[in-house]
Amino acid sequence: MADTVILPETQELTATDTPWNVIVYDDPVNLMGYVTWVIMKIFGYDESHASVLMMQVHQNGRSIVWSGEKEKAEFYVQQLQAHQLKSSFEKAE
């Protein structure tokens, strides 16, 4: 009878980067139509989705408009700031 070999239990860990959130903040200057236009232009969202995000900015003071890898978040925030929207990116909780 063959000896039974008990293999140690292994656990595979998959390293996943914590996503980063791109945030747009409200301000008293930028027009609602412009905020919608910029979000559509930069992220390629349709008008209804961009309008929902714009209303979150207007009503809640901020909105998470995109989540994903850090390099892309940096790029998007640079684009948003170049369009003069108050924006930043932070690690998702």
Partner: protein, 158 residues
């Protein structure tokens, strides 16, 4: 001053008096006024240490600043060129679809700088009769810039 959409998809502004040109020149002057930091720096201040604020200030802020200045320079040159064309008298200035965004940006920079300086807040809550003459003039300029921006958004950029 009158504003109307053009058949080519742009916007035409007609000054009705030579002094109207000063109102357009004020866009550039207002955009350059800042109490403490310029627009690019104020944008950069929103980036946290964790997100890389130091690198942002070193690499991104100068690019943003250059972009904002280029847009102001383009609009400033268009205004001066229109004044020369009109021989300093009342005359038109055209905003084509191709240069609508630099115009929108210049007007926005002016409004952001005025807001930074005067802290008007949401304009519907403000009564112009309660403001000092300097603040009232700045507020009315900001409203004028906002009106042109609304026309650009409605007739040219969308």
């Amino acid at each position: 001053m009158k504003a109307m959409p053009t058949l080519e998809g742009g916007l035409r502004l007609d000054t009705e008096d030579p002094s109207d040109w000063e109102l357009l020149r004020a866009v550039i002057a207002d955009a350059h006024v800042s109490t403490t930091e310029d627009l690019a720096n104020r944008m950069g201040n929103l980036i946290t240490e964790e997100a890389g604020a130091e690198d942002w200030e070193e690499y991104i802020v100068p690019d943003l600043r250059e972009g904002f200045q280029d847009e102001l320079a383009e609009v400033g040159a268009a205004i001066e060129s229109a004044i020369v064309e009109a021989d300093g008298q009342a005359g038109p200035i055209w905003i084509t679809p191709e240069n609508a965004y630099p115009w929108y940006s210049a007007l926005n920079q002016a409004r952001l700088a005025l807001e930074e300086q005067f802290k008007f807040g949401p304009s519907e809550e403000l009564g112009v009769e309660t403001l000092s003459p300097v603040r009232a003039a700045a507020f009315l300029r900001s409203k004028f810039y906002c009106a042109i921006q609304s026309l650009l958004l409605e007739y040219v950029m969308k």
